[in-house]
């Protein structure tokens, strides 16, 4: 089964995960910038992280024959300090031309604060000025519904943003419809304890259809499963989805969205 992993934090995974993913049929992995589990103390810390995502990690993935792409930003968990965020945003354009950078992400909100909103608007402005794709993180648990609405307000308020060039990630049953109705792509993140399970993600696919939807593991240093996307493909088959339908959601849809970035190529 061929598939794409459009959202995985591989810097926090071991090489066995790369081997398992390639063995399971992964054709490319895309890695959004994220929170390290602690706040970085300087702009230089972000500079080093962006170098890791654009230089070291693609070389590590290449050892297993896996194309590695990334998204760059300052994660919403570090957006509360607006001045510091602006300093980090100032170095971002210097990385956007690197060959594996797909766009700006994962930006968004975490606790739905005023400063997070300001920094989100600045990221959106940066993406618009540099014609970048956007990957949006939506908040966790009790903050998700409100945060998704606030995020949609920001995106719709900027007339330069084309919804078909934006994917809003981590949707669940209470947020997927508002995202799709607004014309954006939606990502379903498959986690063992929070976000979607494979069964619920397939329920959403059955209800809304496969248009503008993709699946991802968002595997990182927390409880997460790097192979959960192909496992969801298997569950789709158990539920009677034809192989072409599985291929569309696991492979063709992410390829369609990501191919809007001319740097995204699959050999």
């Amino acid at each position: 089964m061929r598939y794409l992993e459009p959202h995985a934090h591989m810097v926090s995974r071991v090489t066995d995960d790369y081997q398992d993913m390639v063995t399971a049929g992964c054709m490319a992995v895309c890695e959004p910038a994220f929170w390290a589990g602690y706040d970085r103390s300087s702009v230089a810390g972000f500079h080093d992280y962006f170098c890791q995502l654009t230089d070291y990690e693609p070389r590590r993935a290449a050892k297993f024959g896996l194309p590695h792409y990334c998204w760059l930003c300052l994660n919403p968990k570090e957006s509360e300090d607006v001045v510091f965020a602006q300093e980090v945003l100032a170095i971002l354009p210097g990385f956007l031309g690197r060959p594996n950078v797909l766009g700006i992400g994962e930006i968004g909100l975490n606790k739905n604060s005023r400063n997070e909103l300001k920094v989100l608007e600045q990221h959106v402005d940066l993406a618009a000025r540099h014609q970048q794709l956007i990957l949006v993180h939506t908040p966790h648990l009790e903050d998700k519904h409100k945060g998704t609405r606030l995020t949609l307000d920001v995106l719709r308020a900027d007339s330069r943003i084309r919804p078909e060039r934006v994917i809003i990630d981590h949707v669940e049953e209470h947020t997927v419809q508002m995202v799709l109705d607004a014309g954006f792509w939606a990502g379903m993140t498959l986690y063992p304890e929070t976000k979607c399970t494979p069964a619920r993600a397939i329920d959403i696919l059955d209800r809304y259809g496969p248009e503008r939807l993709w699946l991802n593991s968002a595997c990182d240093w927390g409880v997460s499963v790097p192979l959960i996307v192909p496992r969801t493909g298997l569950e789709m088959r158990r539920r009677g989805h034809r192989p072409e339908a599985v291929d569309r959601v696991l492979y063709q849809n992410p390829v369609e969205f990501l191919s809007q970035c001319p740097k995204f190529k699959l050999s």
Binding site: K77, E116, H140, E142, H145, R239
Partner: protein, 92 residues
């Protein structure tokens, strides 16, 4: 899939989760000390589960969600606890 096929595939798993849920509520009830807003939200979600028709997952998620519309003045921390503590409360 027809209903029987859905039951074939998911009944045992759902049964398992339901018993886990019952045991969790017993565990909370038997534990000493006061509960907090999370248990209140949980009961609200259970009501939504019983009430809902065809849209239960959404209704349960909404029972745990922050219903307000304005951004908060400052992030109270980084984490989410799974239930909205209510206006004026702070959850880390």
């Amino acid at each position: 899939m027809n209903r029987e096929q859905v039951l074939d595939l998911y009944f045992l798993d759902a049964r398992h989760k339901l018993i886990e849920l019952a045991a969790f509520l017993d565990r909370v009830e038997h534990a000493p000390g006061p509960a907090d807003f999370r248990l209140v939200a949980f009961q609200k979600a259970l009501d939504a589960l019983r009430r809902g028709v065809g849209d239960r997952a959404r209704e349960v998620l909404m029972a745990f969600s922050d219903p307000t519309t304005e951004p908060v003045p400052a992030a109270p921390g980084k984490g989410a606890c799974g239930a909205w503590p209510g206006a004026g409360a702070v959850a880390g």
